[in-house]
């Protein structure tokens, strides 16, 4: 039942095995193989880089359509960073731009049948959110020193409430990488499973004869609607990830809020 198994699409398969250490038996040592996930990471990066670099190669003053799309993406992310983190946040613009385009293109790749969805694995989304989190923490302490801890002490709060408020702020700050990664991972994973389940219904019902074929129209309609929804979710989640990154970076740049 691999055809209708909703989990099968998330299986990672080695394409070019690379094993470090271990005793040669399966599962031992460190598996650094080039997998189908790696392939789509490379494809994502290749598509983004090639598109942006080739479409802007002629540097036209009056842009072509392809160049206009690149410029619009640039300005979209630039405005996002500027509005959420201020002009000082523009030094993180490449990071936010990479996160947004990487997640967006990976999600769009995931919508193509038989393609692997890179962002459906929590380790990937977690790594990306830890990248943001550590950037915020490291830059926050580098720029503000101990003043960065003011982040946990909201201004205007009376002293006797601080013992309650500060731990809450601290916990909410520390849970950011988890919420950031789980939000993206959960949305993509759930969406793809749902899509697979409904399309699986079509196959299963169609094999039940004439009535089954008639009845399979219902999950078909559902699958079509869900496909549209998943495109939306893929785009919105990339946007949400980027916006939240900007807001967290804003905390590092202006810690007293």
């Amino acid at each position: 039942m691999a055809g209708t198994d909703p989990i099968h699409q998330f299986v990672i398969e080695d394409m070019f095995p690379i094993h470090l250490g271990g005793d040669g038996t399966a599962g031992s040592g460190l598996n650094l193989s080039f997998t189908n996930s790696s392939l789509f990471m490379v494809a994502t990066v290749a598509v983004i880089s090639l598109y942006l670099i080739l479409s802007t190669a002629s540097k036209r003053v009056v842009p072509s359509r392809a160049q206009l799309l690149s410029e619009m993406t640039y300005e979209f992310v630039a405005n996002m960073v500027r509005s959420a983190a201020g002009t000082a946040g523009m030094k993180f613009f490449p990071l936010v731009f990479c996160l947004f385009t990487f997640i967006f293109v990976a999600n769009m790749f995931g919508m193509v049948p038989y393609f692997f969805t890179v962002t459906s694995h929590i380790i990937v989304t977690f790594a990306l959110s830890m990248l943001v989190f550590l950037t915020v923490v490291i830059y926050g302490f580098m720029k503000n020193g101990p003043k960065f801890l003011k982040l946990f002490v909201p201004s205007g709060v009376p002293g006797y409430i601080l013992p309650i408020v500060a731990p809450i702020e601290f916990i909410s700050f520390m849970s950011r990488p988890i919420s950031l990664s789980v939000r993206l991972f959960g949305n993509i994973l759930a969406g793809h499973i749902t899509l697979k389940v409904f399309t699986g219904f079509i196959v299963t019902m169609s094999s039940l004869g004439f009535l089954g074929i008639l009845g399979s129209a219902l999950p078909l309609i559902m699958a079509v609607a869900l496909t549209g929804l998943e495109f939306l979710v893929g785009a919105v989640q990339a946007y949400v990830f980027a916006v939240l990154t900007c807001m967290y970076l804003n905390d590092a740049i202006h810690p007293s809020h």
Binding site: I7, F10, V11, I12, I18, L20, G21, G22, G27, S28, G29, L30, N31, L32, S33, F34, T35, S37, S38, M41, V42, T44, V45, I48, S49, L52, I53, T56, K59, R60, V61, P63, Q67, S70, E71, Y74, E75, F93, P94, L95, F97, C98, T101, F102, V118, S120, H121, I122, I123, V124, F126, A127, L128, M130, L131, L134, T135, I138, F185, L189
Partner: protein, 210 residues
Amino acid sequence: MVTQAYAQEAVAPAEEHVEGAEGAVDATHADPTADTHATTEAHGGEHESGVFPPFDPATFPSQLLWLAITFGALYLLMSKIALPRIGGILENRKSIIDADLAAADASRQKTEAAIAAYETALAEAKAKAQGIANQTREAIQADLAAKRSAVEADLTGKVAAAEARIASTKAEALTHVDEIATETAQTVVTQLVGDVSTDSVRAAVAKAKE
């Protein structure tokens, strides 16, 4: 599984050295690996193939490595090539548009100055034309007045001469009237009464005229 996890932990630092280039990404490697080891140990003895694929820690090192490589490459390509280039294009366009707007503004100001100059010139020319017209009119009027007065003087002279001539003629005629009256009276009286002296008749005529 537990032993495998330990083995992975042991190799983890080595992996960190491999990608020492990116501090932040490095750290993300160390943390989640440790995390997931804990969960795997908690699950205990679960076999790899039975794990829900997104939670399979055996695939984590590979995914992290390739994510670091690909995302690092993306970051380098974007921050070194693509983004400065697009930023440059936008900057260039903005400067061109600003320069064009400034040039348009300068042209507009030049046009306005030209219009103002034209209008002052026009006003001057109008004033001059009016002056010339006034002068000419005055000259013509003066000329006309002079000629008219000359003609009038001439005419008055002629009229006066004519009146004088008429008066003299009239006076002359009147003297003739006296003579005619005297002659006529003398003739009438002579026919009626007889001879009468010319002087007495003349006196009688003069008396009758009064």
